[in-house]
Symmetry: D2
Subunit: 342 residues, 4 copies
């Protein structure tokens, strides 16, 4: 049996661990042949493949990124995209497809299965941890670790100088990285996209922190927004970015804090640093187990499913359901963490 | 209300995060006073206390160890131990006790509650992750991360030289650290206490690995035992240790591999390095949430309970049940991981 | 004998290591008493002191920042500043002063010695490594390590996506951090304040790198400037920052690259992360030896001197000479490193 | 011109950085062709080569080990070894040889040059930092960093429990790693091969440390020996190791401390972990510059030389002189550090 593998969307530590596990178990236990597709859906769309056997996956476990390459190519936006993929898979003799990716990537897999009966198995991937069907996605723990280490370091400076330190972390729609790294790093304010923030409230936390101890650290998700959304757009410095940049809200907030509290404020934008480098042990464990179970799905003929983490178990859930809803931070959890603000 | 806090047993990254969370929420939200007891059960046994307020827990989140100190003092083994604790608590006006510890520490709490009606809440602590009522315990992720990093480094040497590298990790009764770090580190053999190993099988994995790639890395839990248990005792080099040492099985195995396969073998014993230093972000998150929920138990008057992780939720379980059974590695999971051996 | 100690200027990993070494050796070998001054020159200016004995320096070796606090208070800018310091030292019975700081801090020490005969010994401190009398200053190695780790991580993303990654690192007047971390991280372009850069040349390196391999990483010191200096000021997005920010040149350059090459570009501004956290082993070694030798200077009555590193030796140089000239990157060294550009 | 490159002896972080720098500059600036020899002197002895061009060195900068492989094959111990190498080089058209290695490897290069006029350039490599002609060798800083991090972690346990922690680090003939990591890690006793230690003195430091603070950390180089050398041999547990192992002196010392002071003691043997993994930024900088200057030597026709670090400069010294004397720890430096013992 010949099985295709592809990785789509933004890169994420742990992708290579999935690929390695799929190939090791598929070849050794089930005798499969594998075809790697290059750059996400672009691969099957254009018939662009890479050899994928045991030697090809040796040594990739600790490496970030993906040996298959990735892209955001969406075949649904191309004329006959889905049909062309089906034809290419048929021409290559690929009988099943393991797709590793986020909402968009897995959405294509669903369409491919529904419309052309191509047998697909999904492996969830989002560094933001915002997929509802699984407790965690790989890459998230690594990102949280990197952000936490940065916050740890900033405490030193906050202690020695009287400067508010704003750290902008990833998270456009969900505040998981901000929440976990902010809590783990002992931040004094954590702002997430799920709940619009009140700049005055932030400033009051900043001020009370200065009174109680040393300078505050404010962690803000890139997608966090002030309560009065117009404020951002009216601010000229932001407007001048032309198109929206990662550094947006952090810079804006630092200036607001300076203006309103009179304290100096500085911004650190971690950016891509959070999604690169070697995966944490947790992410390697999770990604490897996802890979092992995905290839088991193929072996069981259990298609249309996505592997997911529930507690310490790997389970299978329908892809379509899994990607239906964004997993955002529960207001109760945000409030639980709020005891450390100020 | 005055609440006592103590930490018992071996140290574990995250203890300070629990203490900080308990105090921050207890003082800020519930207006509690806290009394810290020094060195586990020795504190209440001898009335040895430390002040525990918000200034006392400032800055301790990222620090390993415990500001309260710890010990293995077991009041059950002392005459009138339990009664003396009760009397000291009464004399100090301590109305409830949060006990952070492993099986032994929590066992004393159960007795204290059962026999004298002292209201206790438990927080589980075992670096070995071998407590059955919770998905994970804090400290474990940190230990796995440290062991994985060591294994990563050893790959370099294994690649450049033709030496078998044996890494002995913690785990007397359960192989969780060996299993997780071995998988995450790409080890070629993983040996755990739950399943006696066959030295010949190990040697055959070693040999096949040499043929397929570069020198193998063997991860062995300190509590792992060969199938023929007498072998260890008959080995003179081990016998001469006098009393059993951490370095036992790793050294012994390296010699067996040398003798049987003719390949050079070297041992690394990570020892206490695995349980020291700053907790990982995951452990800080888990420990902090354990602390927040433990103090909620006190506030709810929900005593005799232990906080535990289930999926992403913190739940409450009866202490007595929680510590009844050791959580060992499921044979099915060990087999799942076995695809990477050899 | 009573000896005063102060730390001035921006914080820097290793300050605590110096303080600890001074106190340990001073007390144990020479029987000195120490007076710590709070917040740099503000301490002696206002007579603000902290106790400084062996218990006070226990455990501070691995901690970033400074237990004495720091500030940029410059007594030369205050009426009678120098005289007030002299009077306060006399009133406190402080007979010699160990000043740990950069150019400004040490400059005050020189004046104090010249004008009032106060015996001073200097310990150089600049995270930018731009002091000419010493091979290296402590803190620099830590900063380079942090920046290098960030660059390492960015390679993963550069490999998976087609995005230029610009990393802005510290260095207002000297490009040492950019040069060392850029070389160590395998950057494809390194821009330093010592040599104005040509945006077209940068874009041509970017383009050639894309052809040869994956996306390029551009490391730019915060003080680097394009050849046509007006370009920065004319750019509206930069102008709108109000006052100059750390994120200036990196953001500006990313936009220029996007505009001119058509490639997407993203910026990471490491900011204060580079100067916080635990010092590297190298910095602890250097800072400790600086401290030991500084207190030896006091014992030898060798005042007006600054300790410095020459090869593997700690030597003494006149403070005044030492701070006279900024140590910038030699053009020959920059050219040597240039073999890796593009 | 065709230039050969080989790496000999034990592996060391930074070897790949040297190789990459040699090839990048050699190809780009001087138009050289390169031939890689596999496994040290075994390569030229058996004519075993690997292609070595710019694509071959891409991405190897941050990787530990050596892409050329290494071995301790000594052609001086083989019949006609040197002549066979000369013949193979001639047959392959290799006109100059860059040899990266320690004393043994460079010794062969000297013989090759002296006896057959083969033009050789040396790059020094010893993780122990015991080569007299250079301030530092690459790999050393990485090893010190790893050992220091381990010691940092052990402080946590030392603080929480009453156990002496013995850490055995690399260093058979020179105590540089022990000295630097012991100082940087805040060890309470440091034992080096250069100075036989008195077990009673060690025990007295251990005891005084317990009185002053928490449990002591003892760092011991693997080559350190007690004053009465017979003690080791008479100890049965050590004798039974058969052949001497890395774990020797640490285990032995822990037992002596237990026996003599009555305190529990535990040993950690870091072993190969110290020489594996990614090189530190310092080592990448040093190794890269060594590589650049080595290929310059070839271009200048300056053979028989070894590159070396003096302060911040890379200089050239005669190979023969450079390897003549082992660089051991100066007694004065050991005494300087001794202020922290006990």
């Amino acid at each position: 049996m010949k099985v295709g593998v592809l990785t789509g969307g933004g890169d994420c530590p742990g992708l290579n661990a999935v690929i390695r596990a799929v190939v090791r178990k598929g070849v050794q236990e089930y005798g499969y042949d594998f075809t790697g597709f290059r750059d996400g859906w672009r691969g099957p769309l254009e018939g662009d493949t890479v050899p994928l056997d045991i030697p090809a996956v040796r040594g990739i476990l600790p490496r970030g990124g993906t040996v298959l390459g990735s892209s955001r190519t969406n075949p649904l936006k191309q004329r006959d995209g889905i049909r062309r993929i089906k034809d290419n898979l048929a021409a290559l003799g690929v009988e099943a497809l393991i797709t590793i990716g986020g909402e968009d990537t897995l959405g294509v897999a669903t369409r491919l299965a529904d419309e052309y009966g191509v047998p697909c198995v999904g492996v969830p991937k989002t560094i933001d941890n915002d997929l509802s069907a699984t407790d965690y996605t790989f890459g998230f723990d690594t990102a949280v670790g990197i952000a936490t280490e940065a916050i740890d370091r900033l405490h030193t400076t906050a202690e020695s100088h009287m400067r508010v330190l704003v750290v902008e972390v990833m998270g456009r729609h969900a505040g998981w990285i901000a929440l976990h790294s902010g809590l783990a790093g002992g931040a004094n304010v954590i702002l997430i996209p799920e709940q619009r923030f009140d700049v005055e409230q932030v400033c009051s936390w900043v001020t009370s922190r200065f009174r109680a101890s040393y300078a505050p650290i404010v962690v803000v998700a890139e997608g966090a927004m002030p309560r009065d959304g117009d404020m951002v757009l009216k601010d000229e410095s932001l407007d001048s970015y032309g198109h929206v940049r990662l550094s947006g809200v952090g810079e804006w907030l630092a200036k607001q804090i300076e203006k309103r509290t009179g304290n100096e404020a500085r911004t650190t934008v971690l950016g891509h640093v959070q999604r690169g480098g070697t995966p944490s042990a947790f992410d390697r464990w999770l990604a490897t187990r996802f890979g092992l179970h995905a290839v088991d799905c193929v072996h069981d003929g259990d298609f249309g499913k996505m592997v997911a983490l529930r507690g310490t178990d790997i389970v299978r859930v329908p892809i379509a359901e899994a990607t239906a809803r964004l997993k955002t931070v529960d207001p109760a959890l945000y409030e639980e963490v709020g005891v450390f603000f100020g």
